[in-house]
């Protein structure tokens, strides 16, 4: 029941919030709820067995028997940290948006919790259609978040976001249905369970796009590639980020983009091993282009948020190339980088939100000399910047290092190009940092009428956990990687005939046993 509780508790929270009569205590309530959820998600560690590569804490019930669609939650080392990331970021987001969301507070928090459910469900669902429901569901709260609480061009941005994402996912739906029929052929009964999908041997012919496996591969890949986003499907991202309110940006960058990369790892690579292998060059190429392109374009952005958005394109490029080299380094690095990016880019967006609250501008040119006015803010921003450009002992380094190493093992040339991202990343971040924080005071900073105040206790409280995580993950990565190691190794070793078993024994959850026995 743990996973179900974790996934669906936020819906209950959302309902309670929607019905809560008093506006002024709403934020406290939401914060409390999100903390409860976070603590609950930590209970996973208690019950999770890191030494097993099997699917754990499984909850499996038939949902739509006609198609073999199941209510199927499970967790393994790959999804574990993304779940924690999601529950970890939510209280931070609520705290960060304490003042910035000043209209329709109720709706905002309800949407946030709904979104949390959708994201958690995406990470935990192991049935295609069940998964798809969460996947699509996540669009709606986000759509409202950007559309209602966003900036001036919010409607354009949010519709673009919705339609871009939708384009990819509908093809995935078709592919999923097709695969359900394939399971019917192969296994006798129709099943939408991912574990049954894994058992399929889908015919693959190299050299052509038209072999079944390649077509299915691309149908899935398109959906995920748009979500990630991979160049050249990224143009929705900068718009969405710039227009989104701070919490929206944080969720978007922190978790939603990870849904794409996570699914590459969960779906694409094990489901279509030959096609993934055959088309890996394409994704490596696009990933590398994304890294360089994102970095270059980020460099010349006049808007801080857009800069960070493009930096996301660049960082997500790393994750993609990491995943598509199929070795331990790349995949571990990719997985780690997902968490890193979630934390550091999330933190960047929070920080940008904080300064935006003070000056109502994100134009780099109007800043300057902020460091002497807002020293605490500067320190946090600097730390996060360091994480973003992957300075060792911050989390970013571990991810990038492993990814680059993995890519190098597979194809040194791609690694050589990708490594320029390390340089360009430093260039655009530090250049921006210099223009905003250093030098003489800019027009916004020196405005006599609106003296800027440094971070208050709440804002520091928001940043502290993030900063702690940045260093914790940078200094003790093994504490994190150990939980995923078995799953990643299992994936890497058995990629061409991947399957996932359900962990039957050793579960601490007494209720899990009869359910599995029923299976």
């Amino acid at each position: 029941m743990l996973l179900s509780t974790i996934v669906f508790l936020p819906v209950v929270f959302a309902l309670v919030i929607a019905l809560w009569p008093r506006e002024n205590s709403l934020r406290h309530l939401a914060l409390g709820f999100s903390l409860i959820e976070f603590i609950l998600s930590l209970k996973i560690f208690q019950q999770f067995d890191p030494s097993s590569s099997s699917l754990q804490l499984v909850e499996k019930h038939m949902w739509i028997e006609r198609f073999g669609i199941q209510y199927f939650f499970g967790i393994d080392g790959i999804s574990l940290w993304l779940v924690i990331l999601t529950t970890f970021l939510t209280p931070i987001i609520i705290l960060a948006s304490w003042n910035s969301i000043d209209k329709r507070v109720k709706g905002f928090h309800a949407a946030l919790f709904l979104l949390q459910t959708a994201m958690l469900g995406t990470f935990l669902a192991f049935d295609a259609i069940f998964f798809y429901v969460f996947w699509e569901l996540s669009l709606i709260p986000m759509y409202f978040m950007v559309g209602i609480w966003g900036g001036t061009r919010r409607i354009y941005a949010t519709v673009k976001f919705f339609i871009f994402t939708m384009v990819g996912s509908v093809l995935m739906l078709i592919a999923m249905i097709y695969m359900m029929y394939l399971t019917q052929e192969a296994l006798g009964t129709m099943s939408a369970s991912l574990l049954d999908f894994y058992r399929l041997k889908i015919p693959f012919v190299g050299g052509t796009l038209l072999s079944l496996q390649s077509l299915l591969f691309f149908a899935f890949a398109l959906a995920f590639a748009i979500k990630v986003p991979i160049f050249p499907l990224h143009t929705w991202l900068p718009d969405a980020h710039v227009e989104a309110p701070t919490p929206g940006s944080v969720i978007l960058a922190g978790v939603m983009l990870k849904m794409g990369t996570y699914c590459f790892l969960r779906w694409i690579i094990p489901l279509f091993p030959e096609a993934a292998e055959y088309w890996a060059w394409l994704f490596l190429l696009l990933g590398v282009i994304g890294i360089v392109y994102g970095a270059l374009v980020a460099m010349v952005q006049p808007d801080v948020k857009k800069l960070v958005a493009y930096s996301s394109v660049s960082h997500m490029g790393y994750i993609i190339i990491g995943l598509f080299v199929f070795n331990s380094y790349g995949i571990t690095g990719g997985l780690y980088q997902m968490l890193n990016h979630g934390i550091s880019t999330g933190a960047l967006f929070i920080l940008i939100g904080m300064i935006y609250e003070r000056t109502h501008s994100r134009e780099i040119a109007r800043y300057g000399g902020l460091a002497s006015v807002l020293p605490i803010f500067t320190i946090f921003f600097f730390i996060v910047t360091m994480s973003s450009i992957a300075v060792p002992l911050t989390n970013g380094f571990i991810g990038e290092f492993l990814i680059l190493m993995g890519v190098f093992e597979k194809n040194p040339w791609f690694a050589a190009v990708a490594v320029t991202g390390v340089i360009l990343g430093a260039a655009y971040m530090l250049w921006m940092f210099m223009r905003v924080f250093f030098g003489p005071k800019g027009e916004l900073v020196s405005d006599e009428h609106h003296p800027l105040h440094d971070l208050n206790a709440r804002e520091i409280g928001v940043m502290i956990p993030l900063v702690v995580m940045i260093f914790w993950m940078g200094i003790f990565p093994n504490q994190f990687l150990d939980w995923s190691k078995a799953s990643v190794d299992h994936l890497v070793k058995n990629r061409s005939s991947y399957n996932l078993t359900i962990k039957a024994s050793g579960s601490h959850d007494p209720q899990a046993l009869p359910e599995e026995a029923a299976q």
């Binding site: 739509i64 006609r66 939708m166 359900m180």
Partner: protein, 486 residues
């Protein structure tokens, strides 16, 4: 001639009888009261009781696969489900009529009488397996509808709509009949069950039968507004009073598809690849035309009208699936399920449109929704649910409708139809999002009707709740539908 017609037949048609008798109640009361309207609520309740009775009788007596009156009527799963959907949708629409400025008030009894008899026609239509009965049912339904539309208190557009509908409908009827005559000529019978076994052979060998089938299909296509037989739809939907539009878009469309489904169930498509192809193209073109035209609309009703055209295209996918599969239960089930979801969400959407109408000639534009979310948050949420469901976003019922439809199509190897379907659902997202955008993200003072519209709101809320909750249990529901067929 074996002519034993007896009580069983009467029991089977008891829903129609009951509904007809119920329809006489309000109008009789009006006559007895000296041409004075009884309270509208009483009229409405009588009508609803009639519909509920019809549903109940349909469920009780409409056993699996029984025929009545010498095989001219059949009572099977399709009849039951489609009948129930249509009756429920009609009931919902009648509730809207009760509160719409263009339909409430004077002559409400007559309106209810016509609407209920239209529903009787629907029941005939859903159970008809004889093309003659189909024709009678169709005409009973349509003629009442023309009169209903023309009776609107709005004096200009509704009249035009009624007349357009009438003329084009008559032409379509003529075409349908002409086709029927060809089929009669070719087979000596107008009963679908009569020539079912031969249909596959005839469609290949017999050009008369082929043409007859095509003409009949064209007649159906007109009723369910498949492009290019659709042109009446936007105009009539816009011109008619909103509850009537809802009535047409939900109940009428459902039963028309039921009759169409019967024709498809003759499996003649299996033998005729040409017919199959052209139907597929019609489905695709319908989806595209409906969706792209909806994008450029400002009038809310007109937009929903075009969207309804595109939904016909989706349902066509299911019909084609039914037509090409050996056991059409999956396809037919998906069609029924889709119609169920479609009827609910469209009814809901029209309920909201109803809410917006201030006078009998008020035209509701999408931009008028600005600020709606602030003024009526629950209604806005309901509309959001309806629109998302229409767009097929999970976990709404609309998503599952599409899912079953596309699954059925893929199962029959009609992958490319499913692909067109999903591509179109992306296009449709654009315009379904527009009202949501306007409601939630644009500032404005939504002008909504001042008079009380409780019944409309209840309808909307019930629809919304059903859409959200039935989505979760759609599996058993779909299985129930599928198992009850054929």
């Amino acid at each position: 001639m074996n002519m034993n017609i007896g009580l069983p037949d009467l029991l089977l048609v008891s829903p129609m009888i009951a509904l007809f008798l119920a329809s006489l109640v309000p109008i009789t009361i009006k006559v007895l009261r000296g041409n004075q309207e009884q309270p509208a609520l009483a009229t409405l309740s009588q009508a609803l009781i009639g519909l509920v009775a019809a549903i109940a009788l349909l469920m009780v007596f409409g056993g699996p696969g029984q025929t009545a009156f010498n095989n001219s009527l059949i009572f099977d799963g399709v009849t039951q489900w489609m009948g129930i959907i249509a009756m429920a949708a009609a009931a919902g629409s009648m509730v809207l009529m009760y509160e719409n400025p263009a339909t409430k008030g004077r002559q409400f009894s007559e309106l209810m009488f016509l609407a209920m008899n239209s529903a009787v026609g629907m029941l005939v239509l859903v159970s008809a397996v004889d093309l003659l009965m189909v024709f009678i049912g169709l005409e009973m339904m349509s003629l009442s509808l023309y009169l209903m539309i023309a009776m609107s208190h709005e004096e200009k557009l509704s009249k035009e709509a009624a007349f357009k509908y009438f003329v084009l409908g008559s032409v379509a009827s003529a075409i349908f009949l002409y086709g029927t005559s060809f089929i009669f000529g070719a087979t000596g019978s107008t009963n679908l069950l009569g020539f079912m076994e031969n249909a596959q052979r005839l469609i290949v060998d017999n050009r008369l039968f082929l043409f007859g089938t095509c003409l009949v299909i064209a007649g159906f296509c007109f009723k369910v507004s498949i492009v290019p037989f659709h042109a009446w739809t936007p105009d009539v939907y816009q011109g008619a009073p909103t509850p009537h539009t809802s009535f047409m878009a939900t109940a009428v469309k459902t039963v028309s598809f039921a009759a169409f489904l019967r024709l498809m169930a003759t499996k003649s498509l299996i033998a005729s690849p040409n017919l199959l192809d052209i139907l597929q193209w019609l489905a695709v073109i319908t989806m595209i035309v409906g969706n792209v035209a909806a994008i450029v609309q400002n009038n809310l009703k007109r937009m929903i009208a075009y969207s309804s055209i595109s939904h016909s295209g989706y349902i066509m996918i299911g019909l084609i699936t039914t037509g090409v599969s050996e056991n059409g239960a999956f396809g037919a089930g998906s069609v029924i399920f889709y119609l169920l979801s479609y009827a609910m969400m469209t009814l809901g959407a029209f309920a909201i449109a109803n809410l917006m109408e201030r006078s009998d000639s008020h035209i509701v534009n999408i931009d008028d929704l600005a600020g709606f979310a602030k003024k009526r948050p629950i209604m806005a949420l309901c509309l959001t649910i309806f629109l998302l469901s229409l767009a097929g976003i999970p976990p709404t019922l609309g998503f599952f409708g599409k899912f079953y439809l596309f699954s059925a199509a893929i199962g029959e190897g009609l992958l490319w139809l499913a692909l067109w379907g999903v591509v179109n659902s992306v296009i449709s997202v654009y315009y379904y999002l527009r009202p949501i955008v306007v409601m939630y993200m644009k500032e404005g003072e939504a002008d909504i009707a001042q008079h009380s519209l409780n019944a409309t709101m209840v309808t909307a809320v019930i629809s919304a709740i059903l859409i959200m909750s039935l989505g979760m249990v759609s599996g058993p529901l779909f299985e129930a539908v599928e198992k009850s067929l054929f």
